[in-house]
């Protein structure tokens, strides 16, 4: 019955790891001092000024329950608040729920709400709003995220400031999911009143967040203005409110070169989307600082295990060992990535302590030997053959950072061991559908996640077929471990189960973790108080201020 019970043991290790993650990149002296890190401030914060943020794409909707797009999450984090927040180390901390209790059978969660929290419209935030928010989310047809709280049986408002959530079965991820931007607290009356129009324009949005949305010109810019009444910032930020900057303007600039030019010429002060290829040049720039941070992501190749020749584990193992991940890191990602050894990136609970043990090393000779054993003999044209059939595989892919370099590179690497890769690039929409239909042999993709469950259960549970388990991977012991981890309330046992899943997955060799990407943001020298959140980059924006 302890609010902070979960995740606590892993905390110490995490803090150390993450202290390193959020740090200035490149190591040129002027980078290190100010940006990143917790204490990255020069002098006293001053109020005022307009912060312009350049980004690739626009927010889709300001209705947090109707989108999972990162571009929407960034705005929603500033416009709304959630009951629970994820700290910079991904541990859970209270926010609009000051504290909570969990029943012994793990099925009842009682949240005690903070008092004095107001929507912009002036209305007090009360239990009825929380109840409405969760019920709407749960029942909203067409919500891409409502499955995240599906185990909820009912939500009751015990009094104005107490909410009781009852689950159908124990669900270890409830709090984590209530900390996601999709769980932003809505104004019950206001939202009902605007119904389908909710979140489609500034006038139809009401939140309790530190910024109000005042203008939104689609595909162009979105303006947030400081909410002067805001004083209830979460414990994880220094400034509890109101925010320092007057305004934050989010400008949409799809072209990478244009976006970086805006930053270099001082028209924008921040972008979370710095193309890797620009990093080397910008390192020597006076007008832009580069600040690196890590979210949790994995770039991978998945194999369709029920299709010949990929049904042969030797072929899969050969492909694993034919991939030179270091070359992909250095060449494909311009050094802005780390070699991935396991599905879950280091730093999250459930990431293997010694991933090298289960991962495959680059060894083209061994790969060739395995293929020989599998009956694929080297043909005259450098492509292996078996029974007169060449070893040809289709690699399907759509979009992703640096694909124009990475994909031909992977193709060339596999060619070296005698595998001919035919590339099949599809538009994102067509790609998703084709994968769901199982048309691929090899697929290339990347995933971002905030829990190990977000990769492991998603991809490897047999109940997740045809997608996201696009590999036709069925393994009873893996299913059991994943189910166990979900229901588990013991962090150690949970992490162990996740580690075991990964050991098995790596053994079955159908999923190649290639790299974990590093994220690089571009920051103007005037922007102070920057601390990047792994899930939401600028997060609430409360600590940000602009020096002259």
């Amino acid at each position: 019955m302890n609010a902070m019970r979960r995740k606590a043991p892993a905390l110490a290790a995490l803090l150390t790891a993450l202290a390193l993650i959020v740090s200035a990149c490149g190591g040129s002296p002027k980078d290190g001092a100010t940006a990143g890190g917790t204490g990255g401030q020069q002098g006293q914060p001053v109020k005022g000024g307009t912060l312009t943020v350049a980004r690739i794409e626009d927010t889709e909707t300001l209705d947090p329950q109707r989108t999972t797009a990162v571009s929407s999450n960034h705005i929603n984090a500033m416009v709304y608040d959630t009951l629970v927040v994820q700290d910079y180390d991904m541990s859970l901390k209270p926010h609009l729920a000051e504290k909570w209790e969990i029943s012994d059978d793990q099925k009842t969660y009682t949240f005690h709400l903070k008092q004095g929290v107001k929507f912009w419209s002036g209305k007090d935030f009360k239990a009825a709003d929380a109840k409405y928010t969760l019920e709407r989310w749960l029942g909203l047809k067409g919500s891409p995220s409502s499955y995240l709280i599906k185990p909820i049986d009912k939500v009751e408002a015990k009094d104005d400031y107490t909410v009781v959530v009852t689950l159908k079965e124990p669900y270890g991820l409830l709090l984590t999911n209530l900390a996601s931007p999709y769980a932003s607290m809505l104004n019950s009356e206001f939202t009902k009143q605007h119904d389908a129009d909710y979140g489609t324009k500034p006038e139809t949005v009401d939140g309790t967040g530190p910024f109000k949305i005042t203008q939104w010109s689609r595909n162009d810019s979105l303006t947030l203005e400081r909410n002067d009444a805001y004083t209830w910032g979460p414990g994880i930020v220094q400034n509890k409110g109101p925010a320092y900057v007057d305004k934050i303007i989010w400008k949409v600039i799809p072209e990478g070169a244009t976006r970086m030019a805006e930053l270099e010429t001082g028209n924008a002060q921040f972008t979370a989307d710095v193309p890797a290829v620009d990093v080397a040049r910008l390192k020597s720039s006076q007008s832009v600082k580069l600040v690196e941070y890590s979210d949790f992501n994995t770039v991978f190749i998945g194999m369709r295990t029920n299709k010949a020749p990929l049904d042969d584990i030797k072929v899969r193992q050969a492909i694993q060992q034919a991939i030179n991940k270091q070359e992909v890191v250095d060449g494909g990602f311009y050094g802005l990535a780390t070699e991935a050894k396991s599905p879950v990136a280091p730093g999250l609970p459930g990431a293997p302590a010694d991933a090298a043990q289960t991962s495959y090393k680059y060894d083209p000779a061994k790969a060739g030997q395995l293929l020989d054993e599998a009956g694929w003999k080297m043909g005259a044209n450098g492509i292996r053959e078996k029974d007169g059939k060449p070893l040809k595989l289709e690699l399907w892919y759509s979009k992703g950072a640096n694909i124009e370099v990475v994909i031909p590179m992977l193709q060339a690497q596999l060619k070296k061991v005698g595998i001919q890769i035919d590339l099949k690039q599809l538009e994102w929409a067509a790609y998703l559908e084709a994968l769901r239909a199982g048309k691929h042999e090899l697929m290339y993709m990347s995933i971002r996640y905030t829990t190990a469950d977000g990769v492991l259960y998603f991809y490897f549970h047999s109940g997740q077929r045809p997608a996201p388990n696009r590999f036709e991977y069925v393994n009873k012991s893996v299913d059991d471990l994943l189910d166990k981890a979900r229901a588990s309330s013991d962090d150690k046992a949970q992490a162990k189960a996740w580690e075991d899943v990964q050991a098995q997955v790596m053994k079955d060799a159908f999923w190649i973790p290639i790299v974990h990407e590093k994220r690089v943001t571009g920051v103007a020298p005037t922007l102070q108080g920057l601390k990047l959140h792994p899930a939401n980059v600028l997060y609430k924006g409360l600590d940000l201020w602009l020096s002259k």
């Binding site: 040049r281 060449g331 590179m409 690039q425």
Partner: protein, 299 residues
């Protein structure tokens, strides 16, 4: 993209039928006097030769990667430098000329065939005219680039699908040009005369009308080869072109523009290749028009 077309069909229709050898000689003579057209023609011939002999001309394998040696400026080893995977840019442009030229030829053939047939039929058979022209209107009412995007999006990215999209985009232009030619010829005396002598529709179309449209169609085709290359490169620019590692020019620019502020060299060469090719076709097409329609010279 098809806007380089000059709507002067009606004027040119008045040109007498080009039959006699002396006339062809006169056309050739006028063409050769036009320096720009000759220059354009020479470049076009050179490009075709390069495309035909590409594998022999390319100094290196256009797909050979050398990642440590990437983004190198022009040097003796790599005359135009290397790209993002350390591939030889010159070799890629040479081999890419095949893809770019061939795809624009195929795209234009599609629009030419469909467009001219529709235009002939519409212009000649008044009953079908309205129906066909409304179909053409429907196609034209679709903004060209959006139609192409929608088609590529429906068919999936890939060079051949790009050709279809680019080709379909220009069908209405051909149809309208041909139709208006036919319309202005249909009631001319010699057609009426041929008809009164009992010539059938097919004979009139192929013997009398088509030859008279030919000059215009040749001119537009030359010019359209230019705009097809531009259209294809535009689709590539929007990320809907041939997938890598194929060295298609538009795709090369599309990839290289991401490095534009860092390594302008990679973007400049394929852009120049597109530019020079399109310019050459435009010079040639314009020269052909002047040569086939000498009235302007008589002023």
């Amino acid at each position: 993209m098809n806007a380089s077309v000059k709507p002067q069909q009606a004027d040119q229709a008045a040109t007498p039928v080009l039959k006699e050898r002396s006339h062809a000689q006169a056309v050739l003579h006028r063409l050769l006097r036009n320096k720009a057209a000759v220059a354009g023609g020479v470049v076009v011939i050179l490009l075709v030769l390069v495309a035909l002999l590409a594998p022999h001309l390319a100094p290196a394998d256009p797909l050979l990667q050398d990642v440590p040696g990437r983004f190198k400026p022009p040097s003796a080893a790599h005359w135009l430098g290397t790209d993002e995977l350390g591939r030889d840019i010159l070799s890629r442009i040479i081999v890419g000329s095949r893809i770019s030229l061939l795809s624009s030829i195929i795209a234009v053939s599609i629009s030419l065939t469909v467009g001219v047939v529709v235009g002939l039929v519409a212009g000649f058979y008044a009953k079908l005219d309205n129906f066909l022209m409304r179909l053409i209107d429907i196609m034209m009412a679709f903004p060209g680039i959006l139609l192409a995007i929608a088609i590529v999006s429906a068919l999936g990215p890939g060079q051949f699908n790009v050709m279809i999209a680019v080709g379909i985009q220009v069908v209405p232009t051909y149809a309208r040009i041909t139709r208006s030619q036919v319309l202005s010829l249909r009631s001319l005396d010699y057609i009426l005369a041929a008809r009164s002598q009992g010539a059938g529709d097919t004979r009139i179309i192929f013997k009398h009308i088509l030859p008279n449209c030919l000059a215009t169609i040749i001119v537009y085709t030359t010019l359209n080869l230019a705009s097809a290359i531009l259209s294809a490169s535009t689709l590539s620019f929007l990320g809907l072109g041939a997938p890598p590692p194929s060295p298609e020019w538009g795709g090369m620019v599309s990839t290289a523009r991401q490095f534009f502020l860092n390594y302008p060299n990679v973007a400049v060469w394929p852009t120049l290749a597109i530019f020079v090719t399109v310019l050459a076709f435009n010079f040639l097409g314009d020269g052909l028009r002047d040569a086939l329609d000498p009235r302007l010279k008589d002023v």
